[in-house]
């Protein structure tokens, strides 16, 4: 790679992930954080969107605060595969020389960003939960959990650009939407040529789910090993229904086959920050806490008074969930009836 002076690199770029022409929520979170960083750096935030027929999505990125949108529109980008996506991002880096490039820590971002980092010979910090600009040297400080969340490490990439990070979905805040914003679009063609690194997607199988994404829920009723059986989750669903919430779970419940992977909260699942998080029969392993401790209010019910979940719970009840949950649901129904009367 051509060595350039680090001062030649300018701008905060974010990878705006889309699948089936639907922009992933983490993209807006990256733009929101990118705007803050850009303000500290005295520069702008540029969203980069890759896909097939995605030009019309540019205004949505502007609505969430992107100063500029680079669109690479090509049939080869219809389904995500590593090589053409890497090629496009790498060519954009060569052309625009951004000082910061952010990606969502998704199944796509965590494949694309490392391949780009190796091609561009720069550093990459994974799964960041905090990003800030060092006021002294204007370098990016990237903080991430290590060892399953026990330790936090702040990483810097002082002598290579772009400084790159993947960011955990659900952690950064979106900017307020301005629906009338119009994007300042640059269409870019990096020139795609098939090579040995191209792969063929022969089948796309979507998991059918009519459930609301737990990352969007305001109230989560989350069940763990203590729930004891798949059929006992019915009780949690009833509580969720009366509160207008959704059911999520710990990894133990997913591993036991009681709940689905997309309901899993934690280090290897999703990061959630609902208004209220009910941890029911969840002991609170550090990996679970990593995914939910930013919730506004945490209510825990567990029969083990020493369960670590009580260390993060605002309101902890030591008791039998199998007795408490049905009574709570019943009383909430009565409350609702009273109010509607």
């Amino acid at each position: 790679m051509k060595r350039m002076s680090l001062q030649d690199y300018k701008g905060v770029f974010v990878f705006a992930q889309q699948v089936d022409c639907v922009i992933n929520g983490v993209s807006f979170e990256l733009i929101g954080k990118g705007k803050e960083l850009a303000a500290d750096l005295g520069t702008e935030v540029t969203a980069v969107i890759l896909g097939d027929g995605v030009k019309s999505l540019a205004d949505e990125l502007a609505a969430y605060g992107a100063d500029k949108v680079i669109v690479v529109d090509d049939p080869v980008l219809k389904e995500y595969t590593t090589e053409p996506y890497t090629h496009a991002i790498h060519k954009i880096i060569e052309k625009h020389k951004p000082e910061v490039f952010l990606y969502g820590a998704t199944a796509i971002g965590r494949d694309l960003a490392p391949r780009v980092s190796a091609r561009a010979t720069t550093g990459l910090t994974a799964d960041c939960t905090k990003l800030e600009v060092d006021p002294d040297n204007k370098k990016l400080r990237m903080t991430r959990p290590a060892f399953g969340g026990n330790i936090m490490a702040t990483i810097i990439c002082p002598d290579h650009t772009p400084q790159m990070a993947t960011v955990r979905p659900g952690v950064m805040k979106k900017a307020t939407k301005n629906p009338s914003a119009k994007a300042n679009v640059e269409e870019f063609n990096p020139g795609f040529e098939k090579n040995n690194k191209y792969v063929e997607v022969t089948e796309v199988v979507k998991k059918v789910s009519d459930k609301v994404d737990i990352m969007d829920a305001k109230i989560l009723i989350s069940g763990g090993r203590g729930v004891g059986a798949k059929e006992n989750f019915k009780m949690l669903e009833e509580l969720a229904e009366v509160l207008g919430g959704e059911v999520s779970s710990s990894r133990a419940s997913v591993d036991a086959g009681w709940t689905e992977k997309d309901q899993q909260v934690g280090q290897t699942g999703k990061t959630v920050r609902p208004n209220v998080y009910f941890a029911i029969g969840i002991s609170g392993a550090i990996q679970h806490l990593a995914g939910m401790e930013e919730s506004d209010i945490i209510v825990a019910i567990n029969k083990d008074e020493y369960a670590p979940i009580f260390d993060v719970a605002d309101f902890g009840i030591v008791g039998d969930l199998h007795k408490i949950v049905p009574v709570l649901t019943q009383k909430l129904k009565e409350e609702r009836a009273k109010r509607n009367a």
Partner: protein, 260 residues
């Protein structure tokens, strides 16, 4: 067919405890294991060996005691083992690690390289894709299943809400998910062979064609500026109540917080 599986020795984080005073990790006495995603990758390679015939090699980069995970892999059925170890490789971030491993892999014949998706001590998921970039071969990450047909590998590639079936030409690299399979146990005969018959090839700095500026701490674009125990918010209230009282208590608190 020649398959190389990249494995990493990691502390068993399920056993890691925090020092209640300093908030740092207590590492003493914590057992080391083969990283779970890597072990699943090894099992996938050994299954291919069982069904199609293959030579399976394992490689690791780490301190000399990482020999233990190579022996375990051979006791499970791997044919060859390579230990990449040198103080010069120490302090490497993912880019320097992948550069070093790629330099070692260039010295071995392969059709398929399998790595775990990520290691439980770092969780970065970067080294596999970076190795493939250095070797200029295709990669498919997050494999739930790996099949081989002729010169192509068929991978079931997991995403959050779907999977893709991906066809990729060998030579290629695939990163394996831990939930892909249940790794086999070592056999008594396998353990005997791993320690008494099979050899671990040890490579140091001088065995690899790689520039000084690309390895170890010096070859790492990222640096740890600071590490600290996670700040914990103070514990809230904890009460022991029967079902009726508990329900009233929760409702009262939700009202106080204007949730109800």
């Amino acid at each position: 067919m020649k398959i190389i599986v990249c494995i990493k020795q990691v502390p068993d984080t399920n056993e890691v405890k925090l020092d209640p005073v300093t908030g740092t990790l207590i590492r003493d006495g914590v057992p080391s294991i083969i990283n779970p995603d890597d072990k699943a990758g090894l099992e996938a390679a050994l299954s291919l060996k069982d069904s199609l015939g293959a030579e399976v090699s394992v490689i690791t980069m780490g301190p000399p005691q990482a020999d233990a995970v190579l022996r375990e892999a051979m006791a499970m059925g791997a044919d060859n083992a390579y230990l990449v170890t040198d103080r010069a490789f120490g302090g490497a971030d993912t880019l320097a690690t992948s550069t070093t491993l790629a330099a070692a892999l260039r010295k071995i014949d392969y059709d398929l390289i399998i790595t775990g998706r990520q290691a439980i001590d770092g969780d970065t998921a970067q080294v596999g894709p970076q190795i493939s970039e250095h070797l200029d071969i295709p990669n498919v990450s997050y494999a739930e299943d790996i099949k081989v047909e002729g010169n192509t590998v068929i991978v079931k590639r997991q995403y959050e809400d779907r999977y893709h079936t991906v066809k990729v030409q060998m030579p290629c690299l695939v990163t394996a998910l831990g939930e892909m399979n249940t790794p086999r146990y070592m056999t008594p005969g396998g353990i005997y062979d791993a320690y008494k018959v099979k050899k671990v090839t040890v490579w140091g700095r001088s065995d690899l064609e790689v520039a000084d500026g690309e390895i170890g701490l010096k070859g790492s674009p990222t640096k740890v500026a600071q590490s600290f125990p996670k700040s914990v918010k103070p514990a809230g209230q904890k009460v022991t109540l029967d079902a009726d009282e508990a329900a009233d208590y929760i409702i009262e608190k939700l009202k106080e917080k204007y949730v109800l």
